[in-house]
Each structure stands twice: as structure tokens, then as C-alpha cells.
Amino acid sequence: MFDRLQFLCAEAFTALKRNLLMTFAAITTVAVSLFLLGGFGYMYFRIRESADTIPNKFDIRVFLKDDATKQDVSTTAQAIRGMPGVKTVAWLPKDKMWDRTIQQIPEYADLPNQYPEALKVTVSDLKSAPAIVDQIRQLPSVSAESNGVVYRSDEQRFVEQVLSIVRWVGATAGGLLFLTAGLLIYNAIRLTILSRRLEIRIMRLVGASSSTVYVPFLVEGFVQGVLGGALAVLLLWGASNLITGFVASHSALGHPPTFPLLEMAGLLCGAGALYGLLCSSVAMRTPLRFR
């Protein structure tokens, strides 16, 4: 078994060495495409993660009618809690709010309380916020004025747009490069088959098993994919370190998260390996058909 594996791997590495330039092109293209896909994927994941904390910052303020009673507050809060996508509902008693204002602006002390009863609503998903706002506006105790429900929809839209751009740019650029990388692996394998046609013919003549003929090409594609993936991880790691260094030097931006090196290595090398195997099996299907 080990003896056979040794022969098959030796064959694969001979092939890799023979088309060094094409092998290099395939590996680097896989690396760049996986770098883009992985990089944008990672960036998307991070923004998404941050966006998940944004709803707390982008809370919805609900102001009730001036004549709203405590019972109205309770009923309204309960109704809002029952809406899908709502995370928390907190009552902002008008007396407390007014006391706080007076603490900040003592000149208002002689004025009567200007605030209505209010509720602070946070959502679990930013996307559901506009629908929740519409539903809240329909509730009977909610002020009918335009500022009865205050929600920073522009900011939410901005975050959503950023996420959408990252998703599309990453998917398009990475996807195109991934396709190119696949074609390069395909081409590299085809060139190897061409340059090794004599060996293949000899294998056929002496009755080598199909696996002996096929496996070296699969190993070649696999190695190209894994090396491409590994290179992509190194590039991502380097880029992440650069960004981390920049962010750390601007402490106002907060502490950046650590780059998940092992997870990314597993993911990108695995993706590269699978892709390499796929491309090489497609490349050798026709030329190695039994004759």
C-alpha cells in the first residue's frame, strides 16, 4: 500500500515539476482568488457581526399620546413585544426623563414636563426594523405625529448597503478569479497529460490499473489547490496583521479582533483542495478515456 502510494505521489510530483510555470500560474491564481473570496468573506462576516450589535445603537423610540395612561404604556409595550424581530422593549417614564433633562439643563426647572410617555425598542435584525416601525405606528396609543416613532433608518440603510457591496464585490471578483484559477488548473493538468502522454501510453501497454493512471493527476490538482489555499491564508494573515496594526495605532477605533488563522487555513486549504480535485478530474476525463 505504502509502496503504491509512494509511486503515485512520485508520479504526481514529477508532473508538477515538469510544468513548473503552469503549476506556478495555477497556484498563484488559486491563491489570489481564495484571498479575495476569503478576505471579502471574512470582512462580510465581521461587518455582519458588528451590524448585529448595531440594532442596540439604532434603537426605535416610540412616543405615546400626551394623554396616555400607564395602562396604555403597558398595553403598547406588550403589543410591541409580540411583534416578530423585536428584541427588547423598555419603558422610559416621562418623569424620569424630564428629571434627567433638568439635571442637564437646570434652566428648564420652572417649566412643566414637556415629555410624553415613551418606549425604547431594540430589534434583533436590522432588516426587520422598517416593518416593525410601520406596525408600531398603527398602535392606538402611539402619537400620530410624524415624530411619534423615531428611527434612524438612513444609518441602517447605509450599513445594509455596505454589507451588500462587500457581498457583491467579493462574490463577483472572487468568483471570476476562482473560475480563472479553475481554468488554469484544468490547463495545467491538460499540459501535464500532453507532456506525459508517453508515460500514459506505457502504463496502458503494460496494463497499469486505471487508478495508477488517474491518481497522479488528481494528486497534482489537489496539491495545486492546497498550495493555493495555503498561500491565500498567508496573504490574508499578512493583510489582517497590517490592518490590525493600523487599527491598534488609532485607539479610538477600538481593539480589532484576532485573525482566526487555523480556521481560515482549514477552510481555504480545504476549498482549494476540493476545487483542485474537481478541476483535475474534469481535465483528464476526455484525454484519459480508455483506448
Binding site: 501510453r201 506505457i202 502504463m203 496502458r204 503494460v206 496494463g207 497499469a208 495508477t212 480508455f290 483506448r291
Partner: protein, 229 residues
């Protein structure tokens, strides 16, 4: 009557709707025979050998090798079929960057022989075809006859009972051709069935073996020991 080792019954090979490799080709070959297939280019000599190696599949008729019906043999069993025979191609097909012994060793490793066995058997195989003294030479340092010996040595790695040689003397001068034929005869004397496609009419009559003459995919004569039968 004993079952023939190889038999072709009304075999037809059609390459395209109008191009035939063989037509109504019938022949029986006994175990241990030495048969020459002769004829003009395109007569069907190589096609007969390729039917046995399953490089070509017949479109009609029956081809039997031993107990096997080659028409029903699935592709996945073709390597095992080829391990039962030795194939000597017309162009030698030697790896130019490997030495003589490496060429044979490579083929053995590809055919699935373990390294220890390869180390043990390669010198013996090279001696069988009298090329052991050139084991360390590269193919471009060998004469045509020596290259053909290496190709024959490679065909012997699976200790086959059947040896197929397609124009083994096609690229050789008469003296070297005779040496190769003598080598094939020696292998035949040891019990190997030898089938040779050739148009080397200088050497074939001297061999005194069965000669099957083909023309346009048909058998036009089948002579034994040089006499038409």
C-alpha cells in the same frame, strides 16, 4: 478438438461508416503458436493485434482470448487483460530521460509490481533479451535493435503467455531485424504465443512460421511454415 487459445469469428471492425479495419475475419490460433500477419498498409494487420489488446472494439462477430469474450469485457477489466499479454509497439515507446533499466522498472512499477520485486527481476528480464550489458544507457545511446530489445524486455514484465509485436523490425536493417526475430523465436520456444504484424518479407520466410496474409480486412491466405495452405 481443443479450444483454440485465440479465435476470431466473422469479425468486423468498422472505423467509420465507409472505412473498415476488418471484414468477416475468421482465424484460430493455438497456444504456443508463432503467427505473422502480413499485408499492405491498411490491410488490417495492426487492427488484429489491437482487437486483442482492446485498443479497438469489433463492431460485429466474436473475439475470444482464452476463456474471455473480448466483446463483453468491461473497460475496467482491460488493464487486467493487458497484464496477460506483452505488447511491443512499432515505435519502441521508450522514455528518453530514463536509462534502460529504469524504462523496464518504471513499467513494472506502473503495472503494480512492488519495488523489491522490480529490483530483483529487472536484471533477469534484461538478460532474457540480451541487453543487460546496456542497462545504464539512455535510449538515445542505443542502436535501433537495442531499443527494440528494451521494448521487448518491457513487454515481458508481466511474464505473459502472449506477446504481440506490431512491426517490430519496421525501423531496423535486415541484420538487426533477424536478431529481433531470433529473440522472438526464443521466447516462442519457451512457450510464449507470439503474434507479429509485419511486412518484412526478407525475414518472414526464413522464420518458417505461420503467415496470415491480409488484404482490405480479409484473410487472403493462411500458410504454415512458409507454404500456403
Amino acid at each position: 478438438m481443443a479450444t483454440p487459445y485465440i479465435s476470431f469469428e466473422n469479425v468486423e471492425v468498422k472505423y467509420t461508416p465507409h472505412v473498415y479495419g476488418l471484414r468477416s475475419f475468421s482465424l484460430q490460433i493455438e497456444r504456443g503458436a508463432f503467427v505473422f500477419f502480413v499485408g499492405k498498409t491498411g490491410a488490417g494487420k495492426s487492427t488484429v493485434l489491437k482487437l486483442l489488446t482492446r485498443e479497438v472494439t469489433h463492431t460485429a462477430g466474436l473475439v475470444r482470448f482464452g476463456e474471455q469474450d473480448l466483446g463483453k469485457l468491461p473497460d475496467r477489466k482491460v488493464p487486467a487483460l493487458r497484464r496477460q499479454m506483452g505488447i511491443v509497439p512499432q515505435d519502441f515507446a521508450l522514455l528518453p530521460r530514463k536509462r534502460v533499466w529504469e524504462n523496464v522498472a518504471y513499467a513494472m512499477r506502473a503495472a503494480g509490481h512492488p519495488r523489491k520485486e522490480v529490483r530483483r527481476r529487472v536484471p533477469d528480464i534484461l538478460e532474457q533479451v540480451s541487453i543487460g550489458h546496456r542497462a545504464d544507457a539512455f535510449p538515445n545511446e542505443l542502436s535501433g535493435g537495442e531499443q527494440q530489445r528494451v521494448a521487448i524486455a518491457r513487454a515481458l514484465i508481466n511474464s505473459p503467455n502472449l506477446l504481440l509485436a506490431d512491426e517490430p523490425t519496421g525501423n531496423l536493417d535486415p541484420e538487426l531485424s533477424w536478431e529481433i526475430m531470433e529473440l522472438l523465436r526464443r521466447l516462442n520456444d519457451r512457450g510464449t504465443t507470439v503474434l507479429v504484424a509485419s511486412h518484412d518479407m526478407l525475414v518472414i520466410p526464413r522464420m518458417g512460421k505461420r503467415v496470415v496474409r491480409l488484404d482490405a480486412g480479409n484473410v487472403v491466405s493462411d500458410s504454415s511454415g512458409g507454404d500456403d495452405v
